[in-house]
Symmetry: C2
Subunit: 279 residues, 2 copies
């Protein structure tokens, strides 16, 4: 049964407080073990992926559209003003769900049975993390491993930008950055480090083994020198020399990740992706 | 000589009024024949590409960094508050330049001598247009043709997201959408229409001629049925069937454009891009 709430400070709404306050949310979400999904489509995908709903915050207008997915979770119905008062911004998609985080699998779980994986080193932008998950999932990458400092893929903005793809692809986080690649290589993965450096091998010409891990760094700093050095091979996406002379010196990290994930699927086991390698 | 201005309503600052008001800017910019570049790096690229500076609006702090590029253009120095008052938001990059638009070349100019071009149909999001220009320029696409309703690549947000790549790649706009593809095909271009439809040929397996035009539509609607029908071939980026079952049904338009532009360069004349086709 929906409960009508008229006070933005009502303690029942605490899961949804200050959604634009990154620091507040980080501590609140890790303390309570929750994350927030925004909008009907994304909430449905989270439920479909098995995340239990803790509570829903919505307005009268959006209530009916969610009725079939919520199970026994409490549903708090508020005015647009109270919604904005709690969340700290105008929630265009009309519904927020707080969901329980599930235990994160160990890195070994992602490695076992995977053929093509992506490893993200220290990407701190939630939007970029979400966008890369969307690409990786759509193109058939088997799993994603995050460095310890990488942004949280279940943070609201990551979830939103990924369109829920963060629920569709297995993901684990390393305990230790320094030796992080060792376990991956020990599992038989060929590690390819993507760099803007145009003197290394183009990704599309690399001889790929059955198991390949693509390492991606952040847009500004790129991969650490340690990971670049430890990788089996450094690879690049060839850029136009004319453009580089004109000062267009790089792709943004999401565009580069999209091209690289697509290249990674060449020769992969997924039958859909096989057609990619026929050229 | 810099001129110090203390009133946000000073008529000398009119080129910079209301930068977040899309409708106001559209009419103001077309009436005056100008566009706005934001931040030192982008202003330098615009000047380097030959666009004349009409005026510069900056704060004392950023004045010195631009001194060498401005020529005789008037430079208005204001406080942060006045800057915000004029522009309508806090200008983090500290400097704005209004630049004169140059005559847009006819479509024939882009077609002549081009080997790989991109044609955008009705993309209305300025950020997406800017991001696609950045990808296309970085990867070595020869030119871009816009449908009549496509968003303005010289709009401030397009310029900013493109990191100035809008100045680095030739661009023209069709007069007429309905017959827009005729001129391109008459110039000997093979036209490839990108679609999410997984039943058509994967882009990477298409036999490409010396001259190829890749047609891209918007994220929501995709290409019009007319253009899909008129194209020589419909092409897709293969998606993972598992992801599609989980509801991750598409790449975002920029990720798709990045992969498609990269695929387009296969076998192209640019020597840098040749390495792409060696697999």
């Amino acid at each position: 049964m929906p409960e009508y709430v008229t006070d933005a400070d009502d303690p029942r709404l605490a899961d949804f407080t200050g959604l634009r306050d990154v620091e507040l949310r980080k501590s609140l979400e890790s303390e309570r073990g929750l994350f927030v999904a925004e909008g009907e489509k994304v909430i449905r995908r989270a439920v479909g992926a098995g995340y239990p709903v803790r509570a829903v915050l919505t307005t009268e207008r959006w209530l009916a559209s969610l009725a079939d997915v919520l199970g026994d979770a409490p549903v708090y119905v508020v005015s647009e003003e109270v919604m904005q008062g709690v969340a700290g911004f105008q929630v265009h998609r009309g519904a927020l769900a707080s969901m329980e985080r599930l235990p994160v699998p160990p890195v070994a779980k992602i490695l076992e049975g995977g053929s093509r994986i992506v490893v993200l080193e220290d990407l701190v932008d939630h939007g970029n993390v979400g966008a890369i998950f969307r690409c990786a999932a759509a193109l058939g990458v088997d799993g994603i491993i995050l460095s310890p400092r990488c942004a949280d893929p279940l943070y609201r903005r990551s979830v939103k930008v990924s369109m829920g793809a963060v629920f569709a692809i297995p993901c684990a986080r390393m305990d230790n950055w320094y030796d992080g690649l060792e376990e991956i290589r020990a599992a038989g993965f060929q590690t390819l480090a993507l760099t803007p450096d145009q003197s290394v091998t183009p990704l599309d010409t690399v001889e790929m083994s059955d198991r390949v891990a693509l390492l991606l760094g952040s847009e500004g700093d790129g991969l650490s020198s340690r990971w670049l050095r430890e990788a089996d091979e450094q690879v690049c996406i060839p850029m136009s020399s004319t453009a580089m002379e004109a000062g267009v010196d790089s792709l943004n990290v999401v565009a580069a990740a999209a091209i690289a994930c697509h290249g990674l699927m060449r020769g992969a086991a997924d039958p859909v992706s096989k057609s990619i390698s026929q050229n």
